[in-house]
Amino acid sequence: MKYRAYILDVSKKLWAAVTDLVPIIVVVVFFQIVVIQQPFPQIGEVIVGILFVIIGLMLFIEGLEIGLFPIGEAMAYALAKKGSLLWLMIFSFALGFSTTVAEPALIAVAKEASVISSDAGLISNDHKTMKGYALGLRLAVAFSVGLAIVIGVLRILKGWPLYYLIIGGYVLVMLMTSIAPKEIIGLAYDAGGVTTSTITVPLVTALGVGLATVIKGRSPLLDGFGLIAFASLLPMVFVMAYGLFWF
């Protein structure tokens, strides 16, 4: 009997993962057949790949609910109970910094940035300068994400309204845009979107919601969210500042 309930549960979750993927499959098939009018290349591999995606998504979501969310919340409770602001800040910074600095998307973007900047004649063309530039950019972005989580957590503790900070951030982005070198602007705007990885997001969300739940007078809905928003805003400012600093 227990076995049957288990199978029912798994098939329900599998079905949920299938529905998540139906739109992509429909779009891809439509364009391949109707617009591009070509047969599918390596159809066998594609089908196996889609099966992998479905099972992977199902496992990920299951793991999210029994692993990542609970651990994020447990850390939030434990840190709040300990009552040490310093350690909470150190944890927040380390969480933002360490998950961003090795992020593959960021590594790719930083490398591309060094190529663009040397093509535009903003930095010299030798290998060492470009490598140093890319590394510096990665560190700047990782630092900004760490700082963003710290500011976000402080906001939850103090109960500052989120929109003041975000709108302030927007104004800062606008000001930086007007003085930053124009080659770096597109890159800086994109940097905001690529910094938050798939594993960081659930952990950071659970941390925020956990903190807003334990601290008296905070609403998880109003105050618990918003950490990701900071983590995608601040890197824009830092990348533009980095551009200004170098040139």
Binding site: V28, V53, G56, L59, G63, I66, L162, G193, I228
Partner: protein, 265 residues
């Protein structure tokens, strides 16, 4: 047999990379638990199992994407922006209306990849939990996906016309600021967060290929300058659609209340 072997080797490496991405978080949590908090983690066994699920699930997910979706998606993006495809139906490369298939493709791929984006699923689940069901996880995901669809269609239009990126972003910020003043406070934080989560594992590689292919194809565009910006659009417009949805729902409730009051009188 050879291909089976390749699959296993590929999966092994993706697993290693995924684990490497998780490693800093693992070290951080273990350090804090053992040295600072000195407390056992509740339900440790279950949490560990969850961690294994996450790493394995993500590795399988990425592997499948790389085998199935990314190659086709990238080929499509390049084929649709190929000058010979656009000119084949009698269109001119310099006219922005010639690129209609690109805008449609961008919008549809933006919508569909966002629905499958794991980070967004995570935030939507949490939002549903915290709001005790008043925010539906599916509703939030669809609203965000509509935002990304609109963002990518507009973003590809911008690449084709070569108008400066910052003008669009500034205008978008102004809209968000005005909406923030009027939108119900309850949803503002989630709206802001939904901007950052839309572009990760699934969307970024496909969108990058689209931007690069398109800026190569349109005469007079420089991929280094014009190829960027799609991700920025995709992180801005969901904020507008989520805030817009919140405003719409608030308005609907208000009209409904008015109607009830009127009926009562």
């Amino acid at each position: 047999m050879d291909r089976m072997y390749d699959f296993v080797i590929d999966f092994f490496w993706i697993l290693v990379y995924t684990f490497r991405d998780v490693l800093p978080i693992l070290v951080l949590i273990i350090f804090f638990q053992l040295v600072i908090l000195k407390q056992p983690i509740p339900h440790l066994k279950k949490v560990l199992l969850g961690g294994v699920y996450v790493v394995f699930g993500l590795a399988l997910f990425l592997m499948g994407l790389e085998k199935a979706l990314f190659p086709i998606g990238k080929i499509m993006a390049t084929q649709l922006s190929d000058p010979s495809f656009i000119e084949a139906s009698g269109n001119v490369l310099t006219d922005w209306t010639s690129y209609y298939w690109i805008y449609i493709f961008a919008a549809l791929i933006g919508f569909s990849t966002t629905i499958a984006e794991p980070s967004l699923i995570a935030v939507a689940i949490k939002a549903g939990e915290v709001s005790a069901g008043t925010i539906s996880a599916w509703g939030l995901r669809i609203t965000v996906a509509v935002g990304v669809a609109f963002a990518l269609a507009l973003g590809t239009f911008r690449i084709v016309t070569g108008t400066p990126l910052f003008v669009y972003i500034m205008a978008g910020y102004l809209v968000v600021i005005v909406q923030t003043i009027f939108a119900p406070k309850k949803l503002i934080a989630i709206a802001y967060d939904s901007g950052g989560v839309t572009t990760s594992t699934v969307t970024v590689p496909l969108v990058a290929a689209l931007g690069l292919g398109l800026s190569n194809a349109v005469p007079g565009r420089n991929p280094a300058i014009d190829g960027f910006g799609l991700i920025a659009f995709a992180s801005l417009f969901p904020i507008i659609t989520v805030l817009g949805y919140a405003q719409f729902m608030a308005l609907k409730t208000r009209v409904f209340k008015l109607k009830i009051e009127k009926d009562a009188v």
